[in-house]
Each structure stands twice: as structure tokens, then as C-alpha cells.
Amino acid sequence: MSQTPPTSQPFNPFAQAFPWGGFDPAAASKAWQAEMENFSKKLGAMPKVLEAAMKAKKGATPYEVVMTEAPVRLVRYQGKGDKRHATPVLFVFAMVNRPYVLDLLPNKSVVRQFLNAGFDVYMIDWGIPTPSDATKTLSDYIEGHLHRAVERILADTGSEQVNLIGYCMGGTMSAMYASMHQELVKNLILMAAPIDWSSRDSLLLNWTDPKYFDVDAVVDTFGLIPPQFLGNSFAMLKPVANYFQKWQGFYEKMDDEKFLEDFFAMEVWSNDNIPISGEVYRDFVKYGFQQNRLVQGTFPVGGKKINLGNITCPVLSLTAEADHLVLPCQSTPLKEHVGSTDYTEMSVKAGHIGLSVGSRAHKEIWPKATAWMAERSEPVETE
């Protein structure tokens, strides 16, 4: 019986060359031969790898741009099914990456989950800021762009309210908006949104310690915070996974076309980093990470102080158990600060991005989340 491992299995040269009984040249030779065959197979997959890399797209669902305030755009997704709910949905993503991760692939699209559930779906794309946007504040984005986007949606649809879904930093911004304009928000879903920065478990909180990180000096020097700075910071949170394990996994599965499609869609997105307005960055780092003011009711936005107690609509907080970027303990304290009596929490075994693109999330949490919103939405009136 041959001791050569199957080519689909990881190769263990030590086991073949130095078994407990001593060195076996024949077994070692067979093992190396098998590994060389495996390597040839991987080389043969290179054309498919290149093809998959070239084919990777940004977003899966067609949309129309309904409003532009350069660089910000409001887009409306075109679903195939009938609309069954009167209140439209507005997605608000973070400002540090592009929002199409919420619509990455046809089978991994949170946008499609809501379209298929019968909602009218919009998304605000913050765009790529230019140096002229460096001095834009959180107020400019929340009270300006976001508020005008909501007004535009209300005008387009004839609805009196929107369902707001915010992801990560976009979730924090959505909570801020809801606290200032509760009358315009019917339901609020927050996906891995940082609310309470008191826990020191997060690496980011250690890195932004005012003793070591002078956010004023950084913002005053750079204006726009460079995308490489943000991208590398996020990657360094999991250096072994991002710089070693990912590529080893890629090598092992590079002859699997389905894997390649998912891999490159994710790679395109994760490398599509954008700069962020220095003033927004200053506010988030100083008043959020360093001073934890949101839960104290003193986070300033445009001269007002955010009071989460003003949020009285139904709230659904989604967290990812293995989230290393926004720990669940940074999101769940929201329950203690909102004024809502209808508050729900759901959690999934996934990472920060897995919450939107993970197979488990799409199977377990999104059907429940869309049902949660459907239960709290009014049906479309039929004539």
C-alpha cells in the first residue's frame, strides 16, 4: 500500500521523510513526486486565476443613480419582484471602504435579500473624497448629504419615513441621524455598529490611545486621511490571517472556479480603500475612540449633542461573534441607551465582513432580519 497522500490533501514532507521508524527514501520520493504533480496542477490553473481576476466586478445588482452631490451619490436598486412594503430601505455604509460589499455577488448580497423580500432599496454611496472634502465634518455628511438623501427618497416614493440600515461606522452615523430625525425613521437596523468604546479589548482602541496617537496632528498634516493608512491599519489587526493564511488558502484552492470568483470579488473590495475626510476622522477618533462620548450623550455633531435616547423606533442590532474590528461588546450597549421599547439583538458566528458576505449570515441571519423589518412595515396599498 502506498504511503503517498492524495494530492488534494496538504502535503506533510516530515511525515514521509522522517516517520517514527526512521527515514524511508522510497516513501519520501513518492511524496515529493505527488507534491510536484499537485504543483503542476496549480500552475495549470493560472489561466483560470487570471480570468477570474479580470472578471471580478464591483457589485451584482443593477441600479440607477437618483441623486448626486459630488462625490456622494444616492442609488436605487432595481429588483425583479413586486414591492410589498411601503417604506423604502436606505443602506448607509462606512466611509472608509466602498459600499458594494453589501451587494458583492448575486448569492452574497444583502441588498438582494431586501429586494427579494419586497422592499424598495436605496443606498448612499459616499464616493471618493477629494482634497476639497477634507474639511467636511460629520454634520456635513449626516445633516447634509444623508438628510437630503432621505428627503429625496421620501419625495420619490411618497413615503413619510425610511427604514435605515447602517453598517459599521455607517451604523453609528445612522444611529446619530435617527436620534436627530426620529420622525423620519420607521425602523433602524445596525450592523456591527460601534456605539460604546469603553472596552480596551479592541486593538484599534489601543492604537488610538491619545498617549500614542495624536489625531489632531495627523488630521492637520494630512487633511484627507490616506487610504493606505486605513487599509494597512485594518489588515494589521489580523496580520497572520491577512498576510499568510489567506494566501496559503488561495494556493490550496486556486483550481476551484467558485472559490476564485468569491476570492477575487472580496480582494477587489478589500483593496478598494478610499480616503476619509480628516474632520470626520478627527471626530470619530477623538469623541468616539478616545473619549467615548456617544453613550454619554455628549458626542457633538454640528453644534448639537447626540442623545441616543431620542431613538424610539424599533431597533435591530446585528453583531458578528468573531468580529475583530467592532467587537460585539461595542454594539450591544445600545440597548441601554435608546428610548425604544422594541429592541432586538441577533448574532451570527462570523467576522466583521462575514456579516454581509458570509454564507452563514445569508442563511441564518438575513432571512430573519428581513422578516423582522417586514413585520414592522406597512404593506403597499393596492388600488
Binding site: F11, N12, W20, Y212, A217, G223, K286, G302
Partner: protein, 167 residues
């Protein structure tokens, strides 16, 4: 109190010893206690399987990730991060200074800094104008209310925009 049986090792040696010990333990499919005696034949069988390599790799990466995370929380790492950041800012300031003083005047062109200053001034002026208009609106509303006896309709004046300089 120092351990008399185990001599102290330097951090680097301790790190590698622990990482390899964990990998070997995972490869042999043991509960992961380095140095514990095990049945040689069972260990050999476990170590021979391709799955063992997978477990060893996973254990190796887990150990590396754990050490990396621990290190990235230390004052030494945070100090080095601060120094790198200070150097990056210094370089940027020098480049900006060079471009402002030499390149812009040589080519009689505006710099990114000039754009930012102009746009900042426009933004500030816009905010001031909006604030003034809102105040006038409120006064008109007061007058209308006084004349017609109807309740006021004007919105309160927005808060003045904050400056983008250091706070």
C-alpha cells in the same frame, strides 16, 4: 519566586519554542501539552496523516496570531508606531513646505494647500451666510406673526459651522 527546574529563556527563544511545541502537539493530535509522554505508535500514526499537517499549520498560525496580537498591545510596539507616524508626518510637512515654497512659485500654480484654504474659506462664508439668512427668516417670521396673529413658521437658526483648525 524563580522556577528552579526550568532555566529562564529569552523572549525570542521562548516564542519559537512555544510555537513549535504547539504545532508538534497538534500534529500528533494530542491535547496540546508539550512534553507529555504519549504512545509512540499512536503518535506515529497521527503524525503520518496529511490531516496532521493541516492541524500543525493551524496551530502554528494560531500561536503566531496570538503572539502578534499580544505584541501589538505592548508599549514597545505603540511607541514604535508613534515614531513611524511622527516620521511620516514630518516627511509630509517637509514635502508640503518644499512644494509650497519652490514648486508653486516656480510654476506660478496653486497647490493642494491653496485649494483647501480657498474651499475652507468658501465653506465658512457659506455657513455664515446660511446662519444670517436663517436669522433674517426668523425675524420676518416674528414680524408676520405680529402682524397677522398667526403662529411662527420659521425654523430656528442652524448652529454656526465649526472651523477645521485644531480643537
Amino acid at each position: 519566586m524563580s522556577d528552579q527546574t526550568t532555566p529562564p529563556v529569552d523572549p525570542i527563544t521562548g516564542f519559537w519554542r512555544d510555537v513549535w511545541a504547539r504545532s508538534a502537539a497538534a500534529g500528533a493530535n494530542t491535547p496540546g501539552i508539550p512534553g507529555m509522554p504519549m504512545d509512540p505508535s499512536a503518535a506515529a500514526q497521527a503524525f503520518m496523516s496529511p490531516e496532521a499537517m493541516k492541524r500543525m499549520q493551524a496551530a502554528f498560525y494560531d500561536a503566531m496570531a496570538q503572539y502578534a496580537e499580544q505584541y501589538m498591545r505592548t508599549p514597545q510596539f505603540l511607541e514604535s508606531m508613534k515614531k513611524s507616524m511622527d516620521q511620516a508626518m514630518q516627511l509630509r510637512q517637509q514635502m508640503d513646505g518644499f512644494l509650497k515654497s519652490n514648486m508653486a512659485s516656480a510654476f506660478e500654480s496653486a497647490t493642494g494647500g491653496s485649494h483647501a484654504e480657498i474651499l475652507g474659506a468658501i465653506r465658512q462664508s457659506t455657513a455664515q451666510l446660511q446662519s444670517q439668512i436663517a436669522k433674517i427668516d426668523a425675524r420676518v417670521s416674528d414680524l408676520e406673526s405680529a402682524v397677522t396673529g398667526k403662529p411662527k413658521t420659521a425654523k430656528p437658526a442652524p448652529a454656526p459651522a465649526k472651523k477645521s483648525a485644531k480643537r
